[in-house]
Symmetry: C2
Subunit: 363 residues, 2 copies
Amino acid sequence: MAISERKKKILAAVVDEYIRTAEPVGSKAIAQSAGLGCSPATIRNELAELVSLGYLEQPHTSAGRVPTPMGYRMYVNELMEKQKLSLEESEEINRRLNARLQQLDDALSDVSRLASQLTDYPALALTAQHTVTVQRFDLIYVDANTFIIVLTLSSSQAKSKLVRLPISVDQKLVQRLSSLFNSGFTGVTEEQISPLLINSTERAADDTMGITSVIAAFVLETLTEANTPSASISGENRLLSQPEFRDPDKAHRLMSYLSGGGYILPPNSGLDAGDGVKVLIGPENVAEELKDSSVVLASYDAGDNTRGLIGVVGPTRMDYSAVAAKLSCLAASLSRRLGGGEAPPEGMHNKLIIKGDDPNDRR
Amino acid sequence: MAISERKKKILAAVVDEYIRTAEPVGSKAIAQSAGLGCSPATIRNELAELVSLGYLEQPHTSAGRVPTPMGYRMYVNELMEKQKLSLEESEEINRRLNARLQQLDDALSDVSRLASQLTDYPALALTAQHTVTVQRFDLIYVDANTFIIVLTLSSSQAKSKLVRLPISVDQKLVQRLSSLFNSGFTGVTEEQISPLLINSTERAADDTMGITSVIAAFVLETLTEANTPSASISGENRLLSQPEFRDPDKAHRLMSYLSGGGYILPPNSGLDAGDGVKVLIGPENVAEELKDSSVVLASYDAGDNTRGLIGVVGPTRMDYSAVAAKLSCLAASLSRRLGGGEAPPEGMHNKLIIKGDDPNDRR
DNA sequence: TATTAGCACTCGAAAGTCAAGAGTGCCAAC
DNA sequence: GTTGGCACTCTTGACTTTCGAGTGCTAATA
């Protein structure tokens, strides 16, 4: 349904103002702010129509207007001015991202923390489900009681573990195991590692001390960890500064949903491609707990043909424009760093160590 | 100053009751609960004295009594019955700890999350400052563009990184670098790694491609990370279910202090030894933000001659007894797993990967 | 026909009032 | 030293009142 140009301007003004103040906005305020030269009375007529069209609502008869989810949707799709970050701002983001990613590991939680700091809302970072295999297998013999397992994964990470044994092992045995694992366990997925395979390796290596199973356990553990999509959430506490979460119960419900590793995405939707930013407004969310909050999502190229997500959660009255701009810049920076086989900048190599939040952790 | 036996009983009853209900407790309630056969009037007299001694206070003239920090202190030191966990409970803790630690990495955040779940308060886990060195150094040559760095640390961890280069390297060069690093970079602390050392290694290896500095950077990064004391905090949101944090501003202040990696400990106090549990009540905390909260801390043996801390933060009206019992059990379990050079149980090896929370993250 | 000024009306938020109840402090009696 | 009794205090919650922002409608106007 088409809407007059003026109605759009008014709707935009209502949303902008409401985002700014969190208070229902009245006709007078609009008459001043939106530069269309007409009186409050005229605006009131238009507002009444916008209400009956479903874009706005009134908390009660004699209050100002508040956008409905449909109103926000219209705003996000057509009305809001796409905010461009200034050059300094986007360089700032790059710089901070760089500073973080130079650290080892924990990229995911660093990214979510950064997103939260940038936007001042709770933020999350997710990795996609993924099928990682072992590409190469090394055992380093240290001494009779000690060796190191080094796995090179198809995701271009190396994972290692120091194993100390209460018994002595023969260097020969370690070498045998190394080459057996290299032929038997490379290129296989997590599911293909069967007790059968482990047993036959154990026999072939002539391993009577159960070392094979220790190694196999590490391989499995590592693959499981690398395959599990994982999430990191930061800055839940920032919810509390939003007036819509002044009710501690409401805040608590959402926060514990989030820190329980809440599932933000519609399960089928997958992570879509492109650097586009996706906005889920209020009831558009599947999770009951999010029905009156909004989520802004941006996806990034995590290399190894997978994509990850960064998102921000806030009240429906969220500064969509600013958040979208920042997330999109952050996602682009991340993609540049992690993605696409390009040689990354000096000293930086693909690494996005997957980090587990236990999804059973909800309470 | 000595206090009559009866006063102690009464004080204990007040604290117990207040912990349970969060409401000021009156003389009548005590007369019933504490099994000392005397009337409310008698109790009132005693209460008045306890107030003037500083153990209790009244929110206003005609309200029940509430413990002061000094009252809690007395309670914690002498009065509270040391709660013993039932065998099932402590086995439950062990079991859950085990389930978590079998995962790779992230031990710290798993531990804090577990502590928070057990106690239903926000919890944190800290590692001590630490001086880790490289014990052994391996380079694995993969192909002309790829090699793997494997560091074995004095903390009995192995850390590895896959390095892909845009240029080709000679296998010989990799070997030379491996042995040079093994002699030059083992046993040295982070501070001892100087540009001088790096330069001389580079020259000795005849490395014209800057590979030495890539490796040295990884060594430095790894040591820095391993040496940095780090903290993980979980379950901040649980604060919101405490009536004393119904005020969102108050809750917000404390939560952002905590998730900013707040410094809980008096800077000089160090982490003390022993499995004792330490309680900091209200104003005993140094941080302004904690002045009206309490902290319960337990230290664990993190192996490698260092100790770590687990702690729980809550209102001064905290169930000290239960929290102390749980933390102490958890710390003991952890110590058993990480500490003391003992061979850990099947499949478990020393690993407490240090995980960074950026201390500059405060806002 | 679209816009505007004017005005009565509505409703929520904030302030004020009041009664009920829990708990005290004190006194006199045991 | 302990207890029952009683007047007093202070908070809490319910109820009322007031105030003001904002509306919807109508009639006048461009």
